[in-house]
Symmetry: C2
Subunit: 312 residues, 2 copies
């Protein structure tokens, strides 16, 4: 049976996992643990538990339980309970009951009947920092994700406050994979934080797996202003430390004008394929219709999954 | 198959349900909804949901799920989350998702694989009031349960702020029962609040079921100071409106002195059988060893259940 590992954490991972879980494969997801905002941030600082938001999202994407437990997991309380997601509270309680995030996730996988494993990239306490082109340092994932006054200044690099070491099962999954899927997701706040953990980039480079990067549909203000497909690829390669991505999937289908206008208000624009840009290494760029347009533009989980399964 | 209904709500119901669920019977529990303290009180006032604490306790007592979900259900968060019980949050979320407490309980029964039904006595919003012998009115279940300065003044009567009507399935269960078990539990704050709901006492009186009252082990300061077994029975009969209890089970086994001293500090004393007291109606008083002594004195679930099942 084919083994596929998805590396990411945010809503992008949710999308691709939902597509891939329909295939008869061994699926796992390596999840960033840099999140420090919202419900997750509160639980992280008040309970000292590991970040639960991205883990929850991936568990849910892999869940085969279509009943009430699934609905519960996505339910969000009102302000009275700090807007906590029920799933986050469940993961927090499980961490306290079982004594570890590792056991908590295994229990949640059983409860949700997941078709795959969720593997936090590390159990070390990580804090994500960004250095801007001006030299200024932005501290914390949320402050990078939602820029305050520095959205126009490009990010020079992101790094972890202190070294963190990879979860051995994440390394194992990458090592044994037939396909490694990087992304889709916010470049500096969801994808690269995984590559910053000691052992991960090395494991990807050394794995004999086919490596696929799924490029973002839209640029993200404050993170990837004006980035082309090639810029995304180059950054991933830079943080991996060596060119090793075999295929880059990027969307070529158009997005309706009204929707583009909405995005433009948030200074977000479609990611273009720009042949004039130099790239490092050799890689196959595959442009195709990968978009699913509703009131927002998201990757199309089935189309992406079908393409990945067909790369064989 | 024999149908048994337990009427109560608090930890006493938890005990008797745990004993009875081991028998091959149709078991249900009619639960008071007067609770307005602690985690339940906060959720009740902030989310406008029905009280969940006693429902949670009975669901757990009936649960056949011995795994993590059971542990989760009893888990209590720290002060950061107002000391909420995870089970209470789950029931609150289920009420919001399913749109009703009724559906929420049915879903929770499935999740916990309960061996029996939990039936709130009413879905109306109830508030319990007590009139003391001095004429003073104490408002709210928690204020009656944990008296402030009035613990020495006897309760003259308890009543609901406004009329509440019984849940039709609670009436049905009482109507169809072979045995109705009233108690054990705090007389004025767990047991009688059920009898104050329109339709319940009448249903009990008119049911052809055998009616058993399980008398408390200890008096409760501020509620049942100096009460003998006969006083408990008389009060139950008074609130039922007519003598109809067939058997009263009371404990005759002794409680260790050290433990009695601890209880005495809280002005709680063993409930005595007092032949000199007059009773209304005819009833069989059955004294036996029904106590389970640990660091506290509780009813013994197996001994109680065995006696009830043997009442023929």
């Amino acid at each position: 049976m084919q083994r596929i590992v998805v590396i990411g954490g945010g809503t992008g991972s949710f999308t691709i996992l939902q597509g891939l879980k329909k295939y008869d494969i061994k699926l796992s997801c390596v999840v960033s643990t840099a999140d420090d905002g919202g419900s997750t941030g509160i639980l992280r600082s008040e309970f000292g538990v590991l970040p639960v938001g991205d883990v929850r999202r991936c568990l849910l994407a892999l869940s085969d339980n279509t009943g009430t437990l699934n609905k519960l997991f996505t339910y969000r309380f009102g302000e009275q309970l700090s807007g906590h997601s029920f799933g986050n509270l469940l993961l927090t309680a499980l961490q306290e009951i079982t004594g570890s995030m590792e056991s908590a996730i295994r229990e949640a996988e059983k409860i949700l009947k997941t078709r795959g494993k969720v593997l936090p990239v590390t159990f070390d306490d990580v804090k994500l920092f960004a250095e801007l082109e001006t030299g200024a340092i932005v501290k914390g994932e949320t402050n990078i994700d939602v820029p305050k006054h520095n959205g126009d200044i490009p990010i020079k690099r992101v790094f972890l406050e202190k070294k963190a070491y990879a979860y051995h099962k994440a390394i194992e999954a990458i090592h044994n994979a037939d396909v490694i899927v990087i992304g889709p997701g916010d470049l500096y706040t969801s994808i690269i934080p995984n590559l910053l953990v000691e052992g991960i980039s090395e494991a990807i480079i050394n794995s004999s797996a086919k490596k696929v990067f799924i490029c973002n549909l839209m640029t993200k203000y404050g993170e990837t202003n004006d980035y082309a497909v090639q810029d995304f690829y180059n950054k991933i390669t830079e943080y991996l430390g060596k060119p090793c991505v075999d295929h880059v999937l990027y969307n070529t289908n158009s997005i309706p004008k009204e929707l583009l206008l909405k995005y433009a208000e948030k200074k977000q624009f479609p990611v273009k394929f720009d042949k004039t840009k130099k790239i490092t290494g050799t890689v196959e760029f595959i442009g195709d219709d990968f978009v699913n347009v509703t009131d927002i533009a998201r990757h199309h989980s089935e189309k992406l999954a079908r393409k990945i399964m067909g790369l064989g």
